[in-house]
Subunit: 295 residues, 2 copies
Protein backbone atom coordinates (compact mmCIF):
# COMPACT_ATOMS: atom_id res chain seq x y z
CA UNK A 1 0.00 0.00 0.00
CA UNK A 2 3.02 2.30 0.25
CA UNK A 3 3.17 2.59 -3.51
CA UNK A 4 -0.53 3.31 -3.63
CA UNK A 5 -0.27 6.06 -1.01
CA UNK A 6 2.58 7.58 -3.01
CA UNK A 7 0.59 7.42 -6.23
CA UNK A 8 -2.41 9.02 -4.55
CA UNK A 9 -0.24 11.81 -3.16
CA UNK A 10 1.46 12.31 -6.53
CA UNK A 11 -1.85 12.74 -8.32
CA UNK A 12 -3.07 15.09 -5.58
CA UNK A 13 0.07 17.21 -5.80
CA UNK A 14 -0.04 17.40 -9.57
CA UNK A 15 -3.67 18.48 -9.62
CA UNK A 16 -3.05 20.99 -6.82
CA UNK A 17 -0.29 22.61 -8.88
CA UNK A 18 -2.58 22.71 -11.91
CA UNK A 19 -5.39 24.29 -9.88
CA UNK A 20 -2.95 26.87 -8.46
CA UNK A 21 -1.95 27.79 -12.00
CA UNK A 22 -5.57 28.00 -13.14
CA UNK A 23 -6.50 30.29 -10.25
CA UNK A 24 -3.68 32.80 -9.73
CA UNK A 25 -4.17 35.37 -6.98
CA UNK A 26 -5.46 38.62 -8.48
CA UNK A 27 -5.59 42.31 -7.58
CA UNK A 28 -8.74 43.03 -9.61
CA UNK A 29 -11.59 44.83 -7.89
CA UNK A 30 -13.53 41.58 -7.95
CA UNK A 31 -10.64 39.67 -6.28
CA UNK A 32 -13.02 38.50 -3.55
CA UNK A 33 -14.53 36.14 -6.12
CA UNK A 34 -11.18 34.59 -6.97
CA UNK A 35 -10.14 34.48 -3.32
CA UNK A 36 -13.26 32.41 -2.62
CA UNK A 37 -12.65 30.17 -5.63
CA UNK A 38 -9.08 29.50 -4.49
CA UNK A 39 -10.25 28.87 -0.93
CA UNK A 40 -12.82 26.36 -2.14
CA UNK A 41 -10.50 24.51 -4.48
CA UNK A 42 -7.16 24.56 -2.69
CA UNK A 43 -8.49 23.41 0.68
CA UNK A 44 -7.21 19.88 0.32
CA UNK A 45 -9.45 16.86 0.16
CA UNK A 46 -8.57 13.32 -0.72
CA UNK A 47 -8.40 14.04 -4.46
CA UNK A 48 -9.91 10.64 -5.09
CA UNK A 49 -11.31 11.74 -8.43
CA UNK A 50 -7.98 13.07 -9.75
CA UNK A 51 -6.35 9.76 -8.92
CA UNK A 52 -9.09 7.99 -10.84
CA UNK A 53 -8.55 10.23 -13.88
CA UNK A 54 -4.78 9.80 -13.80
CA UNK A 55 -4.86 6.03 -13.24
CA UNK A 56 -7.49 5.67 -15.96
CA UNK A 57 -5.29 7.64 -18.35
CA UNK A 58 -2.30 5.42 -17.59
CA UNK A 59 -4.20 2.43 -18.99
CA UNK A 60 -3.88 4.11 -22.40
CA UNK A 61 -0.47 5.75 -21.90
CA UNK A 62 -2.02 9.22 -21.72
CA UNK A 63 0.52 11.82 -20.65
CA UNK A 64 0.22 13.00 -17.07
CA UNK A 65 0.03 16.64 -18.23
CA UNK A 66 -3.17 15.90 -20.11
CA UNK A 67 -4.78 13.74 -17.41
CA UNK A 68 -4.06 16.41 -14.85
CA UNK A 69 -5.96 19.00 -16.88
CA UNK A 70 -9.05 16.79 -16.88
CA UNK A 71 -8.52 15.97 -13.21
CA UNK A 72 -8.42 19.69 -12.46
CA UNK A 73 -11.72 20.20 -14.32
CA UNK A 74 -13.27 17.42 -12.24
CA UNK A 75 -12.01 18.98 -9.02
CA UNK A 76 -13.37 22.39 -10.05
CA UNK A 77 -16.81 20.82 -10.49
CA UNK A 78 -16.50 18.85 -7.26
CA UNK A 79 -15.48 22.00 -5.34
CA UNK A 80 -18.34 24.05 -6.83
CA UNK A 81 -20.84 21.36 -5.81
CA UNK A 82 -19.55 21.34 -2.23
CA UNK A 83 -19.73 25.13 -1.99
CA UNK A 84 -23.35 25.20 -3.16
CA UNK A 85 -24.41 22.10 -1.18
CA UNK A 86 -23.01 23.62 2.03
CA UNK A 87 -25.20 26.75 1.74
CA UNK A 88 -27.73 27.49 4.51
CA UNK A 89 -30.73 26.80 2.26
CA UNK A 90 -29.21 23.43 1.25
CA UNK A 91 -27.34 21.20 3.72
CA UNK A 92 -26.38 24.17 5.93
CA UNK A 93 -22.85 23.02 6.79
CA UNK A 94 -20.37 25.27 8.61
CA UNK A 95 -17.39 22.95 8.47
CA UNK A 96 -15.62 21.28 5.55
CA UNK A 97 -12.19 19.68 5.52
CA UNK A 98 -11.63 21.09 9.01
CA UNK A 99 -12.18 24.71 7.94
CA UNK A 100 -15.18 27.08 7.80
CA UNK A 101 -17.22 26.56 4.61
CA UNK A 102 -17.04 29.24 1.91
CA UNK A 103 -20.26 31.05 2.84
CA UNK A 104 -19.05 31.24 6.46
CA UNK A 105 -15.53 32.42 5.57
CA UNK A 106 -16.83 34.86 2.92
CA UNK A 107 -20.61 35.31 2.56
CA UNK A 108 -23.52 33.63 0.80
CA UNK A 109 -23.51 35.74 -2.34
CA UNK A 110 -19.77 35.22 -2.82
CA UNK A 111 -20.19 31.49 -2.26
CA UNK A 112 -22.89 31.20 -4.90
CA UNK A 113 -20.86 33.23 -7.41
CA UNK A 114 -17.63 31.37 -6.67
CA UNK A 115 -19.42 28.08 -7.33
CA UNK A 116 -20.85 29.43 -10.58
CA UNK A 117 -17.45 30.62 -11.78
CA UNK A 118 -15.77 27.30 -10.87
CA UNK A 119 -18.27 25.44 -13.04
CA UNK A 120 -17.64 27.64 -16.09
CA UNK A 121 -13.89 27.38 -15.53
CA UNK A 122 -14.10 23.57 -15.66
CA UNK A 123 -15.51 23.72 -19.19
CA UNK A 124 -12.94 26.34 -20.19
CA UNK A 125 -10.18 23.96 -19.09
CA UNK A 126 -11.59 21.07 -21.12
CA UNK A 127 -12.11 23.17 -24.27
CA UNK A 128 -8.49 24.35 -24.18
CA UNK A 129 -5.95 22.91 -26.64
CA UNK A 130 -3.61 22.20 -23.73
CA UNK A 131 -6.03 19.48 -22.63
CA UNK A 132 -5.99 17.79 -26.04
CA UNK A 133 -4.88 18.85 -29.51
CA UNK A 134 -7.75 16.77 -30.92
CA UNK A 135 -10.94 18.90 -30.98
CA UNK A 136 -13.07 15.72 -31.00
CA UNK A 137 -11.58 14.80 -27.65
CA UNK A 138 -12.20 18.27 -26.23
CA UNK A 139 -15.79 18.24 -27.40
CA UNK A 140 -16.37 14.69 -26.08
CA UNK A 141 -14.94 15.63 -22.70
CA UNK A 142 -17.19 18.68 -22.46
CA UNK A 143 -20.25 16.64 -23.40
CA UNK A 144 -19.49 13.91 -20.85
CA UNK A 145 -18.73 16.35 -18.03
CA UNK A 146 -21.80 18.49 -18.76
CA UNK A 147 -24.05 15.42 -18.56
CA UNK A 148 -22.40 14.12 -15.40
CA UNK A 149 -22.65 17.50 -13.65
CA UNK A 150 -26.13 18.59 -14.79
CA UNK A 151 -29.77 17.93 -14.05
CA UNK A 152 -29.60 14.29 -15.12
CA UNK A 153 -26.45 13.85 -13.02
CA UNK A 154 -25.01 15.54 -9.96
CA UNK A 155 -27.48 18.44 -9.66
CA UNK A 156 -30.46 16.10 -10.09
CA UNK A 157 -29.00 13.95 -7.32
CA UNK A 158 -28.75 16.90 -4.96
CA UNK A 159 -32.38 17.79 -5.73
CA UNK A 160 -33.36 14.19 -4.87
CA UNK A 161 -31.32 14.37 -1.68
CA UNK A 162 -33.23 17.48 -0.57
CA UNK A 163 -36.52 15.86 -1.56
CA UNK A 164 -35.61 12.83 0.56
CA UNK A 165 -35.55 14.96 3.70
CA UNK A 166 -39.34 15.00 3.64
CA UNK A 167 -39.93 11.81 1.66
CA UNK A 168 -37.98 8.95 3.24
CA UNK A 169 -36.51 6.76 0.52
CA UNK A 170 -36.07 3.01 0.36
CA UNK A 171 -32.84 1.31 -0.67
CA UNK A 172 -33.46 1.60 -4.41
CA UNK A 173 -34.25 5.30 -3.98
CA UNK A 174 -30.97 5.86 -2.18
CA UNK A 175 -29.03 3.95 -4.81
CA UNK A 176 -30.58 6.12 -7.51
CA UNK A 177 -29.92 9.32 -5.56
CA UNK A 178 -26.26 8.42 -5.06
CA UNK A 179 -25.85 7.25 -8.65
CA UNK A 180 -26.85 10.76 -9.72
CA UNK A 181 -25.37 12.85 -6.90
CA UNK A 182 -21.88 11.37 -6.79
CA UNK A 183 -21.86 8.38 -9.16
CA UNK A 184 -22.03 10.21 -12.47
CA UNK A 185 -19.06 12.46 -11.70
CA UNK A 186 -17.04 9.49 -10.46
CA UNK A 187 -18.00 7.57 -13.60
CA UNK A 188 -16.77 10.50 -15.69
CA UNK A 189 -13.50 10.49 -13.75
CA UNK A 190 -13.14 6.79 -14.51
CA UNK A 191 -13.85 7.07 -18.22
CA UNK A 192 -11.92 10.31 -18.85
CA UNK A 193 -8.71 8.50 -19.79
CA UNK A 194 -10.61 6.44 -22.35
CA UNK A 195 -12.08 9.63 -23.80
CA UNK A 196 -8.63 11.25 -23.97
CA UNK A 197 -7.35 8.15 -25.80
CA UNK A 198 -10.40 7.78 -28.02
CA UNK A 199 -10.42 4.19 -26.76
CA UNK A 200 -12.93 1.57 -27.83
CA UNK A 201 -16.50 1.81 -26.55
CA UNK A 202 -16.30 -1.36 -24.46
CA UNK A 203 -13.20 -0.04 -22.69
CA UNK A 204 -14.87 3.27 -21.89
CA UNK A 205 -17.96 1.40 -20.72
CA UNK A 206 -15.96 -1.01 -18.52
CA UNK A 207 -14.27 1.93 -16.80
CA UNK A 208 -17.62 3.64 -16.23
CA UNK A 209 -18.99 0.49 -14.59
CA UNK A 210 -15.88 0.05 -12.49
CA UNK A 211 -16.17 3.65 -11.31
CA UNK A 212 -19.90 3.38 -10.61
CA UNK A 213 -19.35 0.39 -8.31
CA UNK A 214 -16.37 2.06 -6.67
CA UNK A 215 -18.33 5.29 -6.21
CA UNK A 216 -21.22 3.55 -4.53
CA UNK A 217 -18.82 1.69 -2.24
CA UNK A 218 -17.20 5.03 -1.40
CA UNK A 219 -20.57 6.56 -0.62
CA UNK A 220 -21.54 3.76 1.74
CA UNK A 221 -18.23 4.21 3.57
CA UNK A 222 -19.18 7.91 3.83
CA UNK A 223 -22.42 6.91 5.54
CA UNK A 224 -20.50 4.57 7.82
CA UNK A 225 -18.09 7.35 8.76
CA UNK A 226 -21.02 9.67 9.48
CA UNK A 227 -22.09 7.13 12.11
CA UNK A 228 -18.69 5.93 13.34
CA UNK A 229 -16.23 8.70 12.49
CA UNK A 230 -15.21 11.74 14.50
CA UNK A 231 -14.92 15.34 13.33
CA UNK A 232 -11.19 15.23 14.01
CA UNK A 233 -10.78 12.25 11.69
CA UNK A 234 -13.13 13.30 8.90
CA UNK A 235 -12.69 17.09 9.03
CA UNK A 236 -16.44 17.64 8.68
CA UNK A 237 -19.56 17.55 10.80
CA UNK A 238 -20.59 13.99 11.64
CA UNK A 239 -23.85 12.45 12.82
CA UNK A 240 -25.82 14.89 10.69
CA UNK A 241 -27.72 12.26 8.69
CA UNK A 242 -28.72 10.50 11.88
CA UNK A 243 -29.78 13.76 13.53
CA UNK A 244 -31.80 14.73 10.45
CA UNK A 245 -33.51 11.33 10.53
CA UNK A 246 -32.34 10.83 6.95
CA UNK A 247 -32.43 7.39 5.40
CA UNK A 248 -28.92 6.20 4.49
CA UNK A 249 -27.43 2.86 3.51
CA UNK A 250 -26.48 2.39 7.15
CA UNK A 251 -29.92 3.23 8.58
CA UNK A 252 -31.56 0.83 6.14
CA UNK A 253 -29.03 -2.01 6.02
CA UNK A 254 -27.39 -1.68 9.43
CA UNK A 255 -23.65 -1.28 9.99
CA UNK A 256 -22.57 -4.85 9.35
CA UNK A 257 -24.55 -5.36 6.17
CA UNK A 258 -23.36 -1.96 4.93
CA UNK A 259 -19.74 -3.02 5.49
CA UNK A 260 -20.41 -6.25 3.62
CA UNK A 261 -21.98 -4.29 0.75
CA UNK A 262 -18.82 -2.17 0.49
CA UNK A 263 -16.68 -5.30 0.15
CA UNK A 264 -19.04 -6.77 -2.43
CA UNK A 265 -19.11 -3.62 -4.54
CA UNK A 266 -15.32 -3.24 -4.42
CA UNK A 267 -14.98 -6.86 -5.52
CA UNK A 268 -17.46 -6.31 -8.35
CA UNK A 269 -15.63 -3.15 -9.42
CA UNK A 270 -12.41 -5.07 -9.96
CA UNK A 271 -14.12 -7.56 -12.29
CA UNK A 272 -14.62 -4.73 -14.79
CA UNK A 273 -10.86 -4.20 -14.90
CA UNK A 274 -10.01 -7.59 -16.41
CA UNK A 275 -9.48 -6.29 -19.98
CA UNK A 276 -6.69 -4.06 -18.70
CA UNK A 277 -4.63 -6.78 -16.94
CA UNK A 278 -1.71 -5.55 -14.79
CA UNK A 279 -1.96 -1.98 -16.02
CA UNK A 280 -5.07 -1.60 -13.88
CA UNK A 281 -3.34 -2.47 -10.59
CA UNK A 282 -3.54 1.12 -9.31
CA UNK A 283 -7.31 1.03 -9.88
CA UNK A 284 -7.47 -2.25 -7.96
CA UNK A 285 -5.50 -0.68 -5.12
CA UNK A 286 -8.04 2.14 -5.07
CA UNK A 287 -10.75 -0.42 -4.25
CA UNK A 288 -8.70 -1.61 -1.27
CA UNK A 289 -8.24 1.98 -0.21
CA UNK A 290 -11.99 2.61 -0.22
CA UNK A 291 -12.71 -0.52 1.83
CA UNK A 292 -10.17 0.51 4.46
CA UNK A 293 -10.64 4.29 4.59
CA UNK A 294 -11.08 5.94 8.00
CA UNK A 295 -11.64 9.52 6.83
CA UNK B 1 -39.55 48.45 -38.41
CA UNK B 2 -42.35 45.97 -39.14
CA UNK B 3 -39.84 43.59 -40.70
CA UNK B 4 -37.54 43.99 -37.72
CA UNK B 5 -40.33 43.25 -35.25
CA UNK B 6 -41.18 40.16 -37.27
CA UNK B 7 -37.57 39.05 -37.35
CA UNK B 8 -37.23 39.56 -33.59
CA UNK B 9 -40.40 37.54 -32.97
CA UNK B 10 -39.27 34.81 -35.37
CA UNK B 11 -35.95 34.39 -33.55
CA UNK B 12 -37.74 34.42 -30.18
CA UNK B 13 -40.22 31.76 -31.33
CA UNK B 14 -37.52 29.55 -32.80
CA UNK B 15 -35.43 29.68 -29.64
CA UNK B 16 -38.49 29.08 -27.45
CA UNK B 17 -39.27 25.91 -29.42
CA UNK B 18 -35.66 24.77 -29.05
CA UNK B 19 -35.71 25.43 -25.30
CA UNK B 20 -39.01 23.52 -24.98
CA UNK B 21 -37.41 20.56 -26.71
CA UNK B 22 -34.31 20.76 -24.52
CA UNK B 23 -36.38 20.83 -21.34
CA UNK B 24 -39.26 18.38 -21.71
CA UNK B 25 -41.61 18.00 -18.75
CA UNK B 26 -40.61 14.98 -16.67
CA UNK B 27 -42.19 12.63 -14.13
CA UNK B 28 -38.89 11.80 -12.40
CA UNK B 29 -38.74 12.12 -8.62
CA UNK B 30 -36.54 15.18 -9.09
CA UNK B 31 -39.07 16.81 -11.46
CA UNK B 32 -39.16 19.90 -9.24
CA UNK B 33 -35.70 20.75 -10.60
CA UNK B 34 -36.84 20.55 -14.20
CA UNK B 35 -40.08 22.39 -13.41
CA UNK B 36 -37.98 25.26 -12.05
CA UNK B 37 -35.62 25.17 -15.04
CA UNK B 38 -38.58 25.35 -17.44
CA UNK B 39 -40.16 28.15 -15.42
CA UNK B 40 -36.93 30.14 -15.52
CA UNK B 41 -36.28 29.67 -19.21
CA UNK B 42 -39.74 29.72 -20.76
CA UNK B 43 -40.95 32.85 -18.99
CA UNK B 44 -40.55 35.06 -22.03
CA UNK B 45 -38.18 37.98 -22.21
CA UNK B 46 -37.13 40.01 -25.20
CA UNK B 47 -34.81 37.33 -26.52
CA UNK B 48 -32.42 40.07 -27.63
CA UNK B 49 -29.43 37.72 -27.47
CA UNK B 50 -31.03 35.02 -29.64
CA UNK B 51 -31.77 37.63 -32.28
CA UNK B 52 -28.15 38.70 -32.17
CA UNK B 53 -26.95 35.10 -32.63
CA UNK B 54 -29.36 34.45 -35.50
CA UNK B 55 -28.68 37.74 -37.30
CA UNK B 56 -24.92 37.24 -36.82
CA UNK B 57 -25.20 33.76 -38.31
CA UNK B 58 -27.09 35.09 -41.33
CA UNK B 59 -24.02 37.17 -42.27
CA UNK B 60 -22.28 33.88 -43.04
CA UNK B 61 -25.31 31.93 -44.32
CA UNK B 62 -25.37 29.74 -41.23
CA UNK B 63 -28.50 27.59 -41.11
CA UNK B 64 -31.17 28.75 -38.69
CA UNK B 65 -31.23 25.31 -37.02
CA UNK B 66 -27.59 25.73 -35.99
CA UNK B 67 -27.87 29.35 -34.87
CA UNK B 68 -30.89 28.48 -32.78
CA UNK B 69 -28.93 25.84 -30.86
CA UNK B 70 -26.32 28.42 -29.91
CA UNK B 71 -29.03 30.97 -29.15
CA UNK B 72 -30.65 28.44 -26.83
CA UNK B 73 -27.34 27.91 -25.03
CA UNK B 74 -27.02 31.67 -24.56
CA UNK B 75 -30.56 31.90 -23.18
CA UNK B 76 -29.88 29.02 -20.77
CA UNK B 77 -26.91 30.95 -19.39
CA UNK B 78 -28.86 34.20 -19.31
CA UNK B 79 -31.74 32.53 -17.46
CA UNK B 80 -29.40 30.88 -14.93
CA UNK B 81 -27.75 34.23 -14.22
CA UNK B 82 -31.12 35.89 -13.58
CA UNK B 83 -32.23 33.09 -11.23
CA UNK B 84 -29.06 33.39 -9.14
CA UNK B 85 -28.93 37.22 -9.25
CA UNK B 86 -32.53 37.43 -8.00
CA UNK B 87 -31.76 35.40 -4.84
CA UNK B 88 -32.28 37.06 -1.43
CA UNK B 89 -28.54 37.16 -0.68
CA UNK B 90 -27.89 38.82 -4.06
CA UNK B 91 -30.24 41.43 -5.57
CA UNK B 92 -33.27 40.08 -3.63
CA UNK B 93 -35.84 40.50 -6.39
CA UNK B 94 -39.36 39.06 -6.10
CA UNK B 95 -40.57 39.98 -9.56
CA UNK B 96 -39.18 39.17 -13.00
CA UNK B 97 -40.95 39.49 -16.34
CA UNK B 98 -44.17 40.16 -14.45
CA UNK B 99 -44.05 36.87 -12.49
CA UNK B 100 -42.65 35.75 -9.13
CA UNK B 101 -38.94 34.97 -9.36
CA UNK B 102 -37.86 31.31 -9.18
CA UNK B 103 -36.94 31.27 -5.48
CA UNK B 104 -40.35 32.80 -4.66
CA UNK B 105 -42.31 30.41 -6.88
CA UNK B 106 -40.26 27.39 -5.76
CA UNK B 107 -37.67 27.87 -2.98
CA UNK B 108 -34.08 29.02 -2.61
CA UNK B 109 -32.43 25.61 -2.81
CA UNK B 110 -34.37 24.72 -5.95
CA UNK B 111 -33.49 28.08 -7.50
CA UNK B 112 -29.78 27.58 -6.90
CA UNK B 113 -29.86 24.04 -8.29
CA UNK B 114 -31.98 25.02 -11.30
CA UNK B 115 -29.45 27.73 -12.15
CA UNK B 116 -26.58 25.27 -11.78
CA UNK B 117 -28.27 22.73 -14.05
CA UNK B 118 -29.09 25.37 -16.69
CA UNK B 119 -25.42 26.31 -16.91
CA UNK B 120 -24.27 22.72 -17.44
CA UNK B 121 -27.03 22.20 -20.00
CA UNK B 122 -25.76 25.17 -22.03
CA UNK B 123 -22.39 23.47 -22.48
CA UNK B 124 -24.05 20.16 -23.28
CA UNK B 125 -25.98 21.88 -26.08
CA UNK B 126 -22.83 23.41 -27.57
CA UNK B 127 -20.83 20.15 -27.42
CA UNK B 128 -23.59 18.27 -29.28
CA UNK B 129 -23.10 17.34 -32.95
CA UNK B 130 -26.49 18.87 -33.73
CA UNK B 131 -24.94 22.29 -33.06
CA UNK B 132 -22.09 21.71 -35.51
CA UNK B 133 -20.64 18.65 -37.22
CA UNK B 134 -17.19 20.29 -36.95
CA UNK B 135 -15.66 19.45 -33.53
CA UNK B 136 -13.37 22.51 -33.80
CA UNK B 137 -16.48 24.70 -33.91
CA UNK B 138 -18.04 22.93 -30.93
CA UNK B 139 -14.86 23.30 -28.90
CA UNK B 140 -14.45 26.97 -29.89
CA UNK B 141 -18.05 27.72 -28.92
CA UNK B 142 -17.58 26.07 -25.51
CA UNK B 143 -14.38 28.00 -24.89
CA UNK B 144 -15.92 31.35 -25.85
CA UNK B 145 -19.08 30.79 -23.80
CA UNK B 146 -17.16 29.55 -20.75
CA UNK B 147 -15.00 32.68 -20.79
CA UNK B 148 -17.96 35.01 -21.30
CA UNK B 149 -19.96 33.41 -18.49
CA UNK B 150 -17.20 32.88 -15.91
CA UNK B 151 -15.17 34.80 -13.38
CA UNK B 152 -13.53 37.02 -15.98
CA UNK B 153 -16.92 37.67 -17.55
CA UNK B 154 -20.50 37.64 -16.30
CA UNK B 155 -19.90 36.21 -12.81
CA UNK B 156 -17.02 38.63 -12.19
CA UNK B 157 -19.34 41.46 -13.21
CA UNK B 158 -21.99 40.38 -10.72
CA UNK B 159 -19.33 40.26 -8.00
CA UNK B 160 -18.31 43.82 -8.92
CA UNK B 161 -21.94 44.89 -8.89
CA UNK B 162 -22.35 43.60 -5.32
CA UNK B 163 -19.06 45.21 -4.31
CA UNK B 164 -20.32 48.53 -5.71
CA UNK B 165 -23.17 48.57 -3.21
CA UNK B 166 -20.68 49.56 -0.53
CA UNK B 167 -18.02 51.12 -2.73
CA UNK B 168 -19.63 53.72 -5.04
CA UNK B 169 -18.05 53.49 -8.50
CA UNK B 170 -17.17 56.21 -10.96
CA UNK B 171 -18.06 56.10 -14.65
CA UNK B 172 -15.09 53.98 -15.65
CA UNK B 173 -15.92 51.53 -12.86
CA UNK B 174 -19.49 51.19 -14.09
CA UNK B 175 -18.34 50.70 -17.68
CA UNK B 176 -16.03 47.92 -16.53
CA UNK B 177 -18.70 46.31 -14.38
CA UNK B 178 -21.19 46.31 -17.24
CA UNK B 179 -18.61 45.10 -19.76
CA UNK B 180 -18.17 42.04 -17.56
CA UNK B 181 -21.68 41.57 -16.22
CA UNK B 182 -23.63 41.83 -19.46
CA UNK B 183 -21.14 42.85 -22.16
CA UNK B 184 -19.18 39.62 -22.48
CA UNK B 185 -22.28 37.45 -22.99
CA UNK B 186 -23.67 39.93 -25.53
CA UNK B 187 -20.29 39.96 -27.30
CA UNK B 188 -20.40 36.15 -27.45
CA UNK B 189 -23.90 36.35 -28.93
CA UNK B 190 -22.58 38.73 -31.56
CA UNK B 191 -19.57 36.64 -32.53
CA UNK B 192 -21.27 33.22 -32.36
CA UNK B 193 -22.20 33.24 -36.06
CA UNK B 194 -18.58 33.93 -36.97
CA UNK B 195 -17.47 31.02 -34.78
CA UNK B 196 -20.04 28.72 -36.39
CA UNK B 197 -18.74 29.79 -39.82
CA UNK B 198 -15.07 29.68 -38.83
CA UNK B 199 -14.96 33.20 -40.27
CA UNK B 200 -11.82 35.34 -40.44
CA UNK B 201 -10.50 36.85 -37.20
CA UNK B 202 -11.24 40.45 -38.21
CA UNK B 203 -14.88 39.55 -38.88
CA UNK B 204 -15.26 37.86 -35.51
CA UNK B 205 -13.56 40.81 -33.86
CA UNK B 206 -15.76 43.37 -35.66
CA UNK B 207 -18.89 41.57 -34.46
CA UNK B 208 -17.58 41.47 -30.90
CA UNK B 209 -16.98 45.23 -30.96
CA UNK B 210 -20.39 45.88 -32.49
CA UNK B 211 -22.02 43.79 -29.78
CA UNK B 212 -20.02 45.42 -26.99
CA UNK B 213 -21.19 48.90 -28.05
CA UNK B 214 -24.73 47.67 -28.51
CA UNK B 215 -24.68 45.95 -25.14
CA UNK B 216 -23.51 49.04 -23.31
CA UNK B 217 -26.18 51.12 -25.05
CA UNK B 218 -28.74 48.51 -23.99
CA UNK B 219 -27.52 48.66 -20.40
CA UNK B 220 -27.81 52.43 -20.26
CA UNK B 221 -31.38 52.19 -21.54
CA UNK B 222 -31.96 49.70 -18.70
CA UNK B 223 -30.79 52.31 -16.21
CA UNK B 224 -33.01 54.92 -17.89
CA UNK B 225 -36.01 52.57 -17.65
CA UNK B 226 -35.27 51.96 -13.96
CA UNK B 227 -35.75 55.70 -13.48
CA UNK B 228 -38.48 56.41 -16.02
CA UNK B 229 -40.25 53.09 -16.60
CA UNK B 230 -43.17 51.51 -14.75
CA UNK B 231 -43.51 47.97 -13.46
CA UNK B 232 -46.40 47.41 -15.88
CA UNK B 233 -44.20 48.36 -18.85
CA UNK B 234 -41.00 46.63 -17.80
CA UNK B 235 -42.41 43.60 -15.95
CA UNK B 236 -39.88 43.99 -13.15
CA UNK B 237 -39.31 46.09 -10.05
CA UNK B 238 -38.28 49.66 -10.92
CA UNK B 239 -36.56 52.41 -8.94
CA UNK B 240 -34.43 49.82 -7.15
CA UNK B 241 -31.06 51.29 -8.12
CA UNK B 242 -32.19 54.73 -6.98
CA UNK B 243 -33.57 53.37 -3.70
CA UNK B 244 -30.34 51.45 -3.10
CA UNK B 245 -28.34 54.63 -3.73
CA UNK B 246 -26.44 52.71 -6.39
CA UNK B 247 -24.31 54.58 -8.92
CA UNK B 248 -25.62 54.06 -12.46
CA UNK B 249 -24.98 55.75 -15.80
CA UNK B 250 -28.05 57.87 -15.15
CA UNK B 251 -27.06 58.93 -11.63
CA UNK B 252 -23.60 59.93 -12.86
CA UNK B 253 -24.37 61.39 -16.30
CA UNK B 254 -27.95 62.59 -15.79
CA UNK B 255 -30.89 61.56 -17.97
CA UNK B 256 -30.17 63.72 -21.00
CA UNK B 257 -26.47 62.89 -21.26
CA UNK B 258 -27.30 59.20 -20.74
CA UNK B 259 -29.76 59.35 -23.65
CA UNK B 260 -27.12 61.02 -25.80
CA UNK B 261 -24.62 58.32 -24.84
CA UNK B 262 -27.07 55.66 -26.01
CA UNK B 263 -27.37 57.33 -29.41
CA UNK B 264 -23.60 57.70 -29.69
CA UNK B 265 -22.91 54.06 -28.79
CA UNK B 266 -25.56 52.81 -31.22
CA UNK B 267 -24.03 54.93 -33.98
CA UNK B 268 -20.56 53.63 -33.13
CA UNK B 269 -21.86 50.05 -33.12
CA UNK B 270 -23.03 50.36 -36.73
CA UNK B 271 -19.60 51.49 -37.91
CA UNK B 272 -18.27 48.01 -37.05
CA UNK B 273 -20.79 46.50 -39.48
CA UNK B 274 -19.35 48.07 -42.62
CA UNK B 275 -17.51 44.93 -43.83
CA UNK B 276 -20.85 43.11 -44.01
CA UNK B 277 -22.67 45.66 -46.19
CA UNK B 278 -26.42 45.09 -46.67
CA UNK B 279 -26.39 41.69 -45.03
CA UNK B 280 -25.98 43.44 -41.68
CA UNK B 281 -29.20 45.47 -41.96
CA UNK B 282 -30.95 43.41 -39.24
CA UNK B 283 -28.09 44.20 -36.87
CA UNK B 284 -28.45 47.90 -37.77
CA UNK B 285 -32.16 47.71 -37.07
CA UNK B 286 -31.31 46.22 -33.67
CA UNK B 287 -29.44 49.43 -32.83
CA UNK B 288 -32.54 51.45 -33.65
CA UNK B 289 -34.58 49.11 -31.50
CA UNK B 290 -32.32 49.64 -28.51
CA UNK B 291 -32.44 53.43 -28.85
CA UNK B 292 -36.24 53.40 -28.93
CA UNK B 293 -37.06 50.63 -26.43
CA UNK B 294 -39.64 51.36 -23.74
CA UNK B 295 -39.45 48.07 -21.86
Amino acid sequence: MVNFDNALAAAANAVDRELEALLPATEELEHRLFDAMRYAVLGGGKRLRPFLVVAGGQLFDIEMAQSVRVAAAVELVHAYSLVHDDLPCMDDDDLRRGRPTVHVEFDEATAILAGDALLSLAFEVLADKRTSVDPRVRSDLVMALARAAGGHGMVGGQMLDLWAEENPMDESGIVRMQRLKTGEMIAFSGEAGAILARARTFERQALRMYAHDLGLAFQITDDLLDVEGTEAETGKSVGKDLAAGKATFVSILGVEAARERVRMLAQQATTHLEPFAGKADPLRALCEFVINRRS
